[in-house]
Amino acid sequence: MSELHSLPHGPKRPATAVLEPLREPVGAAGHRVIALVGPPNSGKTTLFNRLTGLRQKVANYPGVTVDYHVGQMILNSKTLDVVDLPGVYSLTPRSEDEQVTHNILHGLTDGMRKPDAVLLVLDATNLSRHLMLAAPILAMGIPTLILLNMADELRRRGGDVDTEALANQLGAPVARISAASGEGLEVIRGFLAGTVALPRPVELPILGSVPACRQWAGSMSRAAGYQSPNAPVWTRRLDALFLHPIAGPLIFLVVMVLVFQSIFVVAQPLMDGVEALIASSGEFVRTLLPGEWLKSLVVDGVWSGVGSVVVFLPQILILFAFLGVLEDSGYLARAAVISDRTMARVGLQGKSFIPLLSAYACAIPAIMATRTIESKRDRFATILIAPFMTCSARLPVYTLIIAAFLPDREILGKFLGLRALALMGLYLLGFLAAVATAWVLNSSVMKAKKRLFTMELPPYRWPTWQSIGLRLLDRSKVFLRRAGTVILAVSIGLWALASLPLVDGHAPPIEDSLAGTLGRTVEPVIRPLGFDWRIGIGLVTSLAAREVIVGTLGTIYGIEGGDESSMGLQQALRQNLDLPGAIALLVFFAFAMQCLSTLAVVRRETGGWKFPAYQFAYMTGLAFVSAYFANHITRFLMG
């Protein structure tokens, strides 16, 4: 401990190792690599989006970027690779995401050359501390431009800094920018093109310990006349409310209810519109196509299959818009702190909360986001339970079944409807399954060890339309790409299976087709759950991805219905599923592991098939047993 008290100045580095000015423009040889480095939540990703125009998720909590991302920017008609790296407080890696940054900067990552230049992004509102990172970065000898980001916020809150003095202290160019507003970004192009005047190189001390590093950073910022900004008044006011022992949790609950209610109320007219559009365009396409077979393939197969999934785009976008606002505003970091104690009871921690919350959108980024968790045990436990959280692929399945089987009744006036309540119940069910699983893990095979929980709380910031908009655009692309690939392929394959073998040159009745045979083969297994062979086909195809069942049922009923396909999916579903079966199906989807992409990511993140295999067996087994009980208990209650 004693070395923590002493603040030694290390030996001076020899002058030759000092950062050399660029002799030629960085862009001159084409495809040079520019790395964005900085502490967590300093604005690297916002800057990355500005520089490359690439959509890269931004949020206002530390640890959003957990893997490196490469984008391109054009400089004097030369292409540069810009790499966005996970935030680091130092170059000593302590978690997986910090390891990623460490490896890239040292040229240890396969297929990635050592960066030719570094843009060191520091939060200008907390400069004295963030400058600590400048010492090890400058010591690497890579040409570096130091960017003091959020300069507008520094100014607004009454702070100031002399960038020229700082540049002379550090022997590296320094500039004030605001990545969010785009202020001052021209200096980056100038630096990369070699037209920015570089200060005279200086000797920097080698700093052995964090206190020594911090003392150096403090002396640098003092020499640059750094005046730290006033306390963020609004953040204090908002925290008094959001972290209030009673009002805080209540507000959280109200926000959640609003999200779920709007998923139904706001999304409904939009979905009706999309549905009508798909139906009428399908009929229009039918009139254009020659031949019964082609009409059947395109309209009954593809249009009903892909269309029935595309309908859910508005709901998914509303969910993502809400999550985006919660993230960008800085509220999620508070939610992580509020939830820490509860999470600790089941052997997790507040840092698990953010991946788990983002798993409401999709388990794949959530599993990637666990990289911010330093403790390997906590990280693996979070990975194992993340797929229980209700991802957006479950949403189409849930809303289809709920809308088909539950009346649209008001419970608390306009504020809360029966359907929204049922949906909230399903979200809660997934959450409880996750918590229960974490508890079982903690008290059996994966006991939690003592570890550190730290969470930096950023000031609240207004989410920008640009950030939310880009995210929604990106999500739409992902969703539609999936509809255009996986679901399209399944729809065509299924149409073929449902139309073969030919009987007298015509498609057979669907129960005698190959697809029907498949469904009837699994029927004995799923009969106890209250499902018939049609649902059975859907369960088989949805092993690829959950929402595929909606497309599958769309295709099956599309073919079965023939000309009367206007009957609609909900009505068709009611004809061969009763209420107990519907509830069992909801429960099955809440628990089952039906997503190949997630299993692939779990394999990559845990380094083997062991975890995904256990996960698949456990979740699907649990789904089967729970659906069985849900079916029988409901049947018993209904007499």
């Binding site: 923590l4 008290h5 964090v210 911090r214 972290l243 702190v337 709380l457």
Partner: protein
């Protein structure tokens, strides 16, 4: 770490004993090296001032203002961080 009067005439006490709004100066981090380094990177450096802020409902974790940031720590961790309180 033994409790003793130091030069400033203030008793060393655990960070966890600081109440909301109270201030102190960090004295030492009685934690494994790995944890101590991470906390120092976040601003918990001996000799630096610290102020206690709000806490999560139930009083754990607690939020501290240190070196220009707000950092949440578990009560358990705070009990291993010693400070000198301002009298």
């Amino acid at each position: 770490m033994q409790a003793a009067f130091n030069g400033n005439g203030a008793l060393p006490l655990a960070l966890s004993e600081l109440r909301e709004g109270e201030k102190g100066v960090l004295e030492s981090l009685d934690l494994p090296e790995e944890f101590a380094s991470r906390l120092m990177e976040l601003g918990f450096i001996p000799g630096h001032p610290v102020a206690a802020g709000k806490s999560a409902p139930g009083g754990d974790p607690r939020i501290f203002r240190v070196d220009g940031s707000e950092i949440a720590l578990r009560r358990e961790t705070c009990s291993h961080i010693l400070i000198r309180a301002h009298a």
